[in-house]
Assembly symmetry: C2
Homo-oligomer: 230 residues x 2
Amino acid sequence: MTTSTPTPRYTVAVIGGTGPQGKGLGYRFARHGHDIVLGSRAAEKAETVATEVSERLAGLAGAGTARGAANTDAIAAADVVLLAVPYDGHDELVASLASALAGKTVISCVNPLAFDKRGAHGRVINGGEGSAAESAAEIAPEATVVGAFHNVAAPALWGEDDFLDEDVIVVGDSLEGKQVAIDLAASVTGRPGIDGGKLRLARVLEPFTAVLISINRKYKTHSGIRVTGV
Amino acid sequence: MTTSTPTPRYTVAVIGGTGPQGKGLGYRFARHGHDIVLGSRAAEKAETVATEVSERLAGLAGAGTARGAANTDAIAAADVVLLAVPYDGHDELVASLASALAGKTVISCVNPLAFDKRGAHGRVINGGEGSAAESAAEIAPEATVVGAFHNVAAPALWGEDDFLDEDVIVVGDSLEGKQVAIDLAASVTGRPGIDGGKLRLARVLEPFTAVLISINRKYKTHSGIRVTGV
């Protein structure tokens, strides 16, 4: 498989880059020509995972590079930051990185979910008038925060298929910020992401993952969503 | 076009049957062999719209029947009730029909949306821990309430295509209730609906329509969702 260099070609810091979602998305971005810096609290852990990603990228013509760094170093090296961290501790982590995130395009794929005996469901944020992405935007007001990549399944990201058979819906209050995620989506799905409206609609995209988890359990699959008619 | 009689063949009362979503879904059900009773507060209005639907069904081999009635008469004649009413006044309407709904399978496609200069968004119900479908289940506790058909666009329902290129996700706490909506979905999309989990996940499906409305405005289309991997 060969990939031509994407235009534009981004350097993406992946905060939570050692978790399955961050590692998987970072791998997808790099597989199709972007450069990634996996971030972690501990640089060594990030470097170990980056080596694992680099080994999978070896021999792929057109692939970008992968390296690891401590979170703030990763952010400093990047134009774009993917927030791929668990919701528990999310607000505190973003607060600790807020000054580093200033001026960056920040893509949140954080899913605030809860699980009980009835399955997965969305956590209520700010009395139903909030989302992880909106929280990040409030905590890091000098960043341009958009929401995207909430609904892609980590096992598929780390799998062998060249592209995933699903769409990435992007929400945000900045068209320029959304365009970055729309561009990056092409490295995951083979086609641009879809502009799904304002940032507050992250309140829908984040818990939609609970629906897909329910479907996965029922049908023993890794489901995704596609938008028809676009 | 011919349609073989569906198994099972349902009689569906459509509350809100004179609105675009109710009329369109009712038409789809009848087009593929189910019988519908469009309900309205005024029987005459329902009968007028039922005549319009019947005219479109004429000559379609295998089509079911369409007639109109006052809401309670429509419910009494049916096994299955589709709630396709605006969210404004929804709770009061369901309360007024609660005794008639006892023992019925009730499918809610009600979308509690609000609109402002930033577009469509979900209304917050019960502090983020509620949905129209859950409200219906509370108000009519002897009915079996499921949620489905939230995300299908009315213009496509009333259009010429035999089936819509999208999926219907069904949520509910009763497998039997969900099965009815899963069966009926086949008359809209050409394939069974998809079990999306418990009724509380209607909190996600209902406002997802706001995302599709945003996409429609941006891309000048009638978008829908498909579930991949199932």
